[in-house]
Subunit: 196 residues, 2 copies
């Protein structure tokens, strides 16, 4: 399909995502990707050195999309406490929506996550940075206390404390009926912790 267009890394990544969606992480092959693009698999290897590198790039794209979807919540105007709750709720909502809407895709994603921990670490740093910014603003506004150590550590603690509500490893729990209450309780705990 569309074999006339030039073969770019971008097009290969799109095809790879499609193949991963359709066949899952175990069955998706480079040959499949090449077939979708109507090229030989050798051509794919011109753009990505290995299958692992290809999957890593897909993982990166996927995670980057989450960061972009969250940015508005990180940067919206208003009191820091509400921004933090909004951001955490948005993160949980995004994840839960994705996990609930397409559990197979989530499972695929989870496998990729597991294969690319370095990429995930960078992504987590990115998200923690967004929290740090909100916490720092809150401190300037006087609604959050000074951090025990520094903003990065506090932000990291907030991220870790809410782990159960964003780590895909816990995706199975997100359909429990009382998960909303549990989330609210932890957010409330975090908010109390940050108060001056």
């Amino acid at each position: 399909m569309a074999a006339t267009e030039t073969l770019t890394a971008e097009r290969i990544l799109e095809a790879t995502e499609e193949v991963l969606r359709r066949y899952g992480p175990a069955k998706a092959t480079v040959v499949d990707v090449a077939r979708v693009l109507g090229v030989s698999h050798g051509s794919v290897y011109r753009h990505f050195r290995t299958k692992a590198a290809l999957r890593e790039a897909v993982t990166e794209r996927w995670l980057e999309r989450t960061v972009v979807e969250l940015r508005p919540y990180a940067e919206e105007p208003g009191p820091a406490a509400e921004r933090l709750t909004g951001w955490l709720t948005a993160l949980f909502g995004l994840k839960r929506h994705k996990a609930g809407g397409d559990p197979e895709l989530m499972a695929t994603f989870q496998v990729l996550i597991g294969e690319n921990s370095a990429v995930v670490d960078r992504h987590v740093d990115h998200l923690v940075g967004q929290i740090a910014r909100i916490v720092e603003d809150g401190h300037r506004e006087g609604v959050f206390a000074a951090p025990e150590r520094d903003f990065a550590t506090t932000a990291r603690a907030v991220f870790d404390a809410t782990d159960r509500f964003h780590d895909p490893a816990h995706a199975g729990d997100w359909s429990a009926p009382d998960i909303g209450d549990a989330f609210a309780a932890v957010v409330s705990l975090v908010q109390r912790a940050l108060r001056p």
Copy 2:
């Protein structure tokens, strides 16, 4: 070996643990357990209706042992804030020690955990109960604020917030060099949240 002793559920459970340790969850069979005990596998089925029931019983025993090891920390005398930190540190320490000391056994345990979520849920309720007791004592002492909703909810939030440091799903992270700092930061966050 010791085929003269009467066959009890207890002896079967011990043999099952040994087989699980030796062969792992995928390869451990009821026939192996019977062989260790020097009996026919039919005899094992007299005490446990299914292989699943046998594994569930092993899981229960295993978890119960954790609760017992933690009880001293839950019941020790002293200020509630220190008891809470002590309890959380003990839980993390126990888990980390087990995961670090015998990663294969931990992996086996994790599989059993996944197979027996009902047993795990009961175990978690038990642990949350220990936290609730400490938090309630703290409130009586005046060192912890009144809970937003009730002690059980607050205790659950504390348990959830520290999830990353006791859930076996995260065992792989526990050997990271800065895990101790991350743990301390979350405990500090929790302590601040509970202050009046």
